[in-house]
């Protein structure tokens, strides 16, 4: 239950994040009006919790804003967007692979930026596998997943000294059971900020 909820939130944040990513690179107002379907999608999916500040700022009086104000608002919006992305700390993998899924990239980049901006913060990457196959191979697979995430974070600005990896293999499933959905939720890397 808990997991399916968090993966729903995960999907929601991702779609929200991708849409926001588009609009912030274009002309905010016109783009927003033209691409009406995108805006609606945000509202429908409860984007309000994620976009509180940004929606309000954008909607009220962008024409009246000075460049500085606009920049500040954009930064603030960007910061809250990043913070919202960073609510997601679990990343999922396909069976017997350690490839980071495309939809995980924005969130991991947000984590990497946070680590780059906060050099005193540390993170532990916990790699896991589902129960299928052998325990020792799964231990190595969990490590390879954690290391794939570690590399991604480093490439995007985090430093090696901030990141510790540990593999639990199949020993600590997030969800008990032998169903495809349990397995999917157990093949994961969790970011744990100390």
């Amino acid at each position: 239950m808990k997991l399916s909820l968090s993966s729903k939130v995960f999907a929601m944040l991702l779609s929200a994040g991708l849409v926001a990513g588009c609009s912030s690179t274009g002309e905010p107002m016109e783009e927003g009006q033209a691409a009406g379907s995108d805006v609606e999608a945000i509202n429908q999916e409860g984007g309000a919790t994620v976009y509180d500040g940004a929606d309000g700022d954008g909607g009220v009086s962008s024409t009246a804003m000075t460049d500085e104000e606009r920049q500040a608002a954009q930064e603030e919006a960007e910061q809250s967007r990043q913070a919202a992305l960073r609510d997601v700390t679990t990343f999922y993998f396909d069976f017997d692979t350690s490839e980071i899924k495309p939809e995980a990239r924005d969130v991991l980049i947000a984590h990497a930026r946070y680590l780059a901006d906060n050099p005193r913060e540390d993170v532990r990457l916990e790699g896991h596998a589902d129960e299928r196959g052998t325990k020792e191979y799964n231990l190595a697979l969990g490590e390879r997943r954690a290391k794939a995430v570690q590399r991604f974070l480093i490439v995007n600005g985090a430093s090696r000294g901030q990141i510790e990896t540990v593999s639990y293999g199949e020993e600590k499933p997030a969800v008990r059971g032998s169903s495809e959905s349990a397995w999917a939720q157990n093949r994961r890397v969790e970011l744990v900020f100390e």
């Binding site: 191979y137 231990l139 190595a140 490590e143 593999s167 032998s178």
Partner: protein, 440 residues
């Protein structure tokens, strides 16, 4: 010699019909023992009559020596002991044996004996007969402290098994395995050691973090295993008599998959200290490590072959995990398995004829073996989420972890996939079985 040959002929026709269910019964919080129940008889297992031994002096309460021998022989899947209630007489020595009676009952072999208590010791005299030939095959005495009748029973079972089959018996050997109970903050892992019939369980390590991959030293005195008690996988070696433990590998990254060399002087293990999972050998006297594999892929689950010179290991260098063999450390690895996309955790047979491993077929995981002389692969288990195969030291039986009806069990099958019995967990999970060596 001749009856051995005759036995083997019978064994060749042996079918998978023995099912012994063994139930784990909780007897106090830390101790739990296994009870055996035969639920189906073997069709072509060899009939043997184990006559209840005559007794003089006080015998300890609990299972009698002859009943221990009976259940051992049944458990092997190779014998079908006669129920004592069907016996026409209860001889305890040769002069009391009427072979005609036993032939009438369809018995091939007959074991008789007597127990005599003197002080703290119990002495057993026992004789084994070939019923058709009316010959005595074995006549021996053995003794043990009264507190240790199970060891006496297992010893007699070993002697009988050896005399008839020509193979070493494994009834006196031990199993190590891990049980998991509770969940969340209350989860507990226990490393346990028991007799092969599941009796006389002793907890050797309790932890709230995972314990896995127990491996017996060849002398049976030490267990190597992986423990997460410090928050990451670390390899320990544990002296069973003293309870003393030593961290042997605590490098950054993985420290896992311990496997002893046949001489007990070194340990294979998987480390990722140099970047990714590779197989290393550690000398136990000097703690010096030597890297044996070198590939960007996962290399793990090293195991010495029967020569003690080459190793099997798992590598996913071809894209998915497969079994490889190196004739000697550093030699070019040769791929052994091709039958499916997932084959891992090799366990070589003691004769060097077969290698056993976890094998994925469709969406299920079984135990399979490959004949090393012709490369032929056969799946030997019918269960579907199988892991952690471990061979008995005589190569006749294989124990592995699996699920039956949603329950976690250890299952024993004959190495060709025949007879089986199971050791279910009373609660929670039982996993990672390791069959101990013959230590006589």
């Amino acid at each position: 010699m001749t009856h051995r040959h005759a036995f083997r002929t019978t064994f060749a026709r042996f079918r998978l019909l023995v099912w012994l269910a063994v139930f784990l019964v909780s007897a106090g919080s830390a101790r739990a023992e296994l009870l055996i129940r035969i639920t189906e008889g073997a069709d072509s297992a060899v009939p043997i009559a184990v006559v209840p031994f005559a007794e003089s002096g006080n015998m300890p309460a609990g299972d009698s020596v002859s009943s221990i021998v009976q259940s051992d022989l049944a458990m092997s899947g190779e014998f079908r002991p006669l129920q004592p209630s069907k016996m026409l007489s209860l001889p305890s020595k040769r002069s009391e044996v009427y072979f005609r009676d036993w032939r009438m009952l369809g018995q091939r072999y007959l074991l008789v004996g007597s127990l005599n208590r003197s002080g703290d010791q119990i002495e057993a005299r026992f004789e084994l007969f070939d019923v058709n030939r009316e010959e005595r095959i074995l006549g021996e005495t053995a003794s043990a402290p009264a507190s240790n009748v199970r060891s006496l029973g297992h010893h007699i079972s070993d002697r009988v098994y050896e005399a008839i089959t020509g193979n070493a018996g494994v009834f006196s050997t031990k199993l190590a395995y891990v049980t998991v109970t509770g969940a969340g903050d209350n989860i507990r892992y226990h490393l346990q050691v028991s007799d092969v019939d599941g009796k006389r369980t002793r907890v050797r390590l309790e932890s709230d973090e995972p314990i896995l991959s127990p491996a017996w030293s060849p002398d049976g005195k030490r267990l190597a295993y992986v423990s997460f008690e410090t928050g990451k996988p670390v390899v320990f070696v544990h002296e069973l008599t003293t309870g003393q433990r030593r961290k042997v590998a605590d490098f950054p990254g993985l420290n896992s998959a311990p496997a002893w060399s046949p001489d007990g002087k070194s340990l294979l293990m998987t480390l990722s200290r140099d970047g990714n999972a590779e197989v290393y050998e550690m000398d136990m006297a000097s703690d010096q490590i030597t890297r044996l594999t070198d590939h960007w892929a996962i290399d793990t689950e090293g195991a010495w072959d029967h020569t003690g010179r080459g190793i099997f290991f798992t590598s996913d260098r071809s894209g998915g995990p497969q079994i490889y063999h190196m004739d000697r450390p550093g030699a070019e690895p040769r791929r052994i398995t091709f039958g499916s996309r997932y084959n891992a955790r090799a366990r070589p047979g003691p004769e060097g004829d077969y290698v056993y491993y976890v094998h994925q077929r469709d969406s299920s995981f079984h135990i399979a073996r490959t004949n090393l002389s012709n490369g032929q692969e056969s799946v030997i288990t019918r269960t579907e989420s199988d892991d952690s195969p471990s061979l008995s030291p005589n190569g006749r039986l294989l124990i592995y972890a699996t699920r039956e009806g949603g329950n976690s069990v250890l299952t024993v099958v004959s190495a060709d996939g025949g007879a089986a019995y199971s050791l279910p967990a009373a609660e929670g999970e039982v996993r990672d079985p390791a069959w101990g060596p013959i230590t006589r």
